[in-house]
């Protein structure tokens, strides 16, 4: 029974996609079908956890029963090991949350039948991408993902520029997938098979120029999919203009397709990750990506565009850590991949809530929303602190592992390059914090704008997914030892030891004939937090809370109560004019409760977001001129970068891997 679950979990999504197209006009029926489909898929994948994650089984499934014939895989197979299952579970969790959020967020929009059809196709294709055991099937799933993502982006009627972002996304992804298809053709030419397990038995150790070129081309495809530099600008554009429920998926989930692809390709199929040239290359790409992503994010003044650049930056962390080829490095990378989906999804949902309530995502025209949308504000703070890696949130744990892994690598190899990576990663982290301080200040804190006086908190159906994600952010931050043991460690093991993967698909003993042996990545040792530290930390926080209630409860002066309106508290005063005494008789008590303007006339004086860090930008203005010029927005320029990167990858392979 259980071996049918992988394929069923994909089928149910695709089937419901077309079912929704039939009943598209009826809102409740449509929502129920969509919800049931993602729930069913989630439950089926969760049922696989005990046997795959804990027992370490590999579940294989041949479509139509076409089992391998005399050592050649002739059918299309599904194969689930811990690595696939980790990503698939992550994916379907994100889709489930996004689906629930969509019920509230997309309510009242037009053509929602098509929205849910495309949404479920996107979900089915991503899950299928992770679970499939056939490289051409991977390509097809990638194309379906691109398709549905482009259509969902272009269909955003709120943004005029949505269509432009969708076009660039389509062009960029098409370049990537064409290169990948060319690579697949070259692979087939050499190995006469498309099955991942068989490829990973044949390929390691038997390189020639054709397979090297194939590796470079397929790697290009996955680099495009994971928005590595210089393929990132069109992704950022698309994430900016898509509906927030879709942005969350595109940014948090779809980029993981590329991460999974790179790990699968370099660790399992080609096993080239144990050569130092590939390690340096992947880490270098990751490091440059994280730096450029975060510096560009600092210069943004659109909420979602800033978040999209941060996705690029965090993906840089993931790829840099995955390129280390140590157990700790891959562990950190996968943990960060999970965390990135959680906190970036949360942040995009918060951005969606802000847009839903105020109708704008421009940081310069927002402010003071924490009084009107307190729950969204709390969720955003949790997400922002997670992504900046403040303890005890989850981003801290994975970043901490990444630094340890990179510096350990530096010490083992004596390569100064990895020291540079460590320093960059640490500095990027504080820049991440800076740009989220900017968002926090210019959206949620500061002064409320007059036109946002009557903004309301979003509906509970949108708050529930945000709450779940916030909870998961804290949960994976505090109980990471348990989480790491159950989910991540088994995935790391399966990535390093591909004998089970090959044997599970092609029959026992198949790998022996090719003389396969597992990679060695060192043992997984890193210092965990002591649980007593948490105990003491909680005690301290408790003590602080007691202090707050003791000291702040006893205010000698009168302060406005939280629910109390300013006018009703003091009777007089026109809030919309100003807070200072100018409109009131002198001696009014409220003068004390206005913010301090050093004797000047009070005006609306919220410091906008885009120029908050000018002291930093002043020193970097040349860098920013060049970089912002390079993100020119022209689809031709982006294609030129892509071509340069493709040729660089191919040349690199021929120079260092021959």
């Amino acid at each position: 029974m259980i071996q049918h679950f992988p394929v069923l979990s994909v089928m149910v999504l695709f089937f419901s996609a077309f079912l929704i197209e039939i009943v598209g006009k009826k809102e409740i029926l449509r929502n129920v079908i969509a919800f049931l489909a993602v729930t069913a898929s989630l439950v089926m994948l969760a049922c696989l956890i005990p046997s795959v994650m804990i027992d370490g089984q590999v579940i294989s499934y041949w479509m139509g029963g076409w089992a391998p014939e005399s050592g050649y895989a002739i059918g299309i197979g599904y194969e689930v090991d811990s690595l696939s299952l980790l990503f698939a579970l992550l994916g379907i969790t994100a889709y489930w949350l996004s689906c629930v959020y969509s019920f509230g967020y997309m309510k009242g929009k037009q053509n929602l039948g098509h929205y849910y059809t495309l949404f479920l196709m996107l979900a089915g294709a991503s899950v299928g991408f992770f679970l499939t055991g056939d490289i051409f099937n991977m390509f097809i799933m990638m194309e379906i993902v691109t398709f549905s993502a482009v259509a969902l982006t272009a269909a955003n009627t709120d943004k005029l520029t949505a269509i432009e972002g969708a076009f660039k996304y389509l062009v960029n992804c098409s370049i990537g997938s064409s290169m990948m298809l060319a690579g697949i053709a070259l692979l087939y030419m050499n190995c006469h098979t498309l099955n991942l397990a068989q490829l990973s038995a044949i390929l390691p150790g038997s390189f020639n120029s054709t397979t090297l070129l194939a590796f470079a081309l397929i790697l290009t495809g996955f680099c495009v999919e994971s928005a590595m530099i210089p393929f990132h600008p069109s992704f950022v554009d698309a994430h900016t203009v898509a509906p927030s429920s879709v942005s969350m998926i595109l940014s948090g989930m779809v980029l993981k397709l590329g991460v999974y692809g790179i790990i699968r390709l370099s660790y399992i199929i080609f096993r080239v990750i144990d050569t130092s040239a590939i390690q340096v290359m992947l880490t270098l790409i990751g490091t440059v990506t994280m730096f450029i992503g975060v510096t560009m994010a600092l210069a943004q003044h659109d909420f979602k565009r800033l978040l999209a650049f941060h996705s690029v930056s965090q993906l840089g962390y993931i790829i840099a850590a995955a390129g280390l080829c140590t157990t700790l490095g891959l562990n950190a990378s996968l943990y960060h991949a999970v965390n990135h989906t959680l906190f970036k999804g949360l942040l995009f949902l918060c951005a969606g809530a802000v847009i839903h309530s105020t109708g704008t995502s421009d940081l310069d025209s927002l402010g003071g929303l924490s009084k009107r949308m307190p729950k969204t504000c709390i969720c955003f703070v949790i997400g922002a602190f997670s992504i900046s890696g403040l303890p005890p949130f989850n981003g801290f744990v994975s970043k901490w592992m990444i630094y340890q892994a990179v510096y350990e690598k530096a010490m083992q190899t004596g390569n100064f390059f990895y020291v540079v990576v460590t320093v960059t990663a640490l500095v990027v982290s504080v820049m991440t914090l800076a740009s989220f301080v900017k968002v926090l200040h210019s959206v949620f804190f500061g002064q409320l704008r007059k036109e946002h006086e009557d903004v309301k908190e979003v509906s509970p159906i949108m708050l529930i997914p945000m709450g779940i994600m916030s909870f998961l952010c804290i949960f994976t931050g505090i109980f990471y030892r348990e989480f790491d043991r159950v989910f991540i460690n088994s995935a790391v093991t399966s990535a390093f030891d591909n004998i089970d993967y090959v044997d599970g698909m092609m029959g026992d003993g198949y790998s022996v004939t090719y003389g396969l042996a597992g990679l060695t990545g060192g043992n997984l040792e890193f210092s965990y937090w002591n649980p007593y530290v948490w105990l003491s930390l909680f005690l301290m926080v408790f003590a602080a809370a007691v202090l707050v209630t003791l000291i702040m409860g006893r205010t000698t002066g009168r302060t406005l109560e939280s629910g109390e309106d300013y006018d009703s508290a003091y009777g007089t005063g026109d809030l919309s004019v100003d807070f200072r005494g100018q409109t009131h008789e002198s001696g009014d008590p409220e003068e004390k409760y206005a913010v301090f303007f050093s004797g000047e006339k009070a005006e609306y004086s919220h410091a906008g977001g885009s120029d908050l860090f000018w002291g930093f930008k002043y020193n970097w203005h040349r860098y920013y001129e060049v970089l912002q010029g390079l993100h020119s927005g022209s689809v031709n320029d982006y294609s030129i970068y892509a071509v340069i990167m493709i040729s660089m990858l191919c040349i690199f392979m021929y120079i260092f891997m021959r």
């Binding site: 943004q300 689809v635 031709n636």
Partner: protein
């Protein structure tokens, strides 16, 4: 002859990439995407070609008589068909998006269609 196929397919891929990089007209950009696809398709079909091979269609009697020894690999042809379908869909979708761009922006020049930048 098969070498010619490879040369032409690489030429087509390069031509397509060149089109993407240099042509400002968005419709030409879409055509560039199409050309890359055709180049890749040609590459796949050539990968499965055997000089002098027959079509891979046999009945059981022929298989039993071991006549089915030398044929053209059918898998790349199946791949090519799939890839052609996908390519056609990409082109259709891209062109429909270009129509929308023309409606909203009033132009199909890549230098004008860049409101998302920086």
């Amino acid at each position: 002859m098969i070498l010619g196929n490879y040369i032409v397919s690489v030429f087509l891929i390069v031509l397509g990439l060149w089109t993407l990089c240099t042509q400002k007209n968005l419709i030409k950009v879409v055509l560039g995407l199409g050309i890359i696809d055709y180049g890749v398709n040609l590459l796949i079909v050539s990968a499965g070609f055997n000089e002098g091979g027959t079509a891979p269609i046999y009945n059981l009697a022929e298989l039993a008589r071991r006549e089915a020894v030398f044929f053209v690999d059918p898998v790349p042809q199946a791949l090519t068909l799939t890839s052609i379908v996908i390519g056609a869909c990409v082109d259709a979708m891209a062109l429909s998006i270009v129509i929308m761009i023309k409606k909203r922006y009033g132009t199909v020049d890549a230098d004008e269609v860049r409101r998302l930048r920086g």
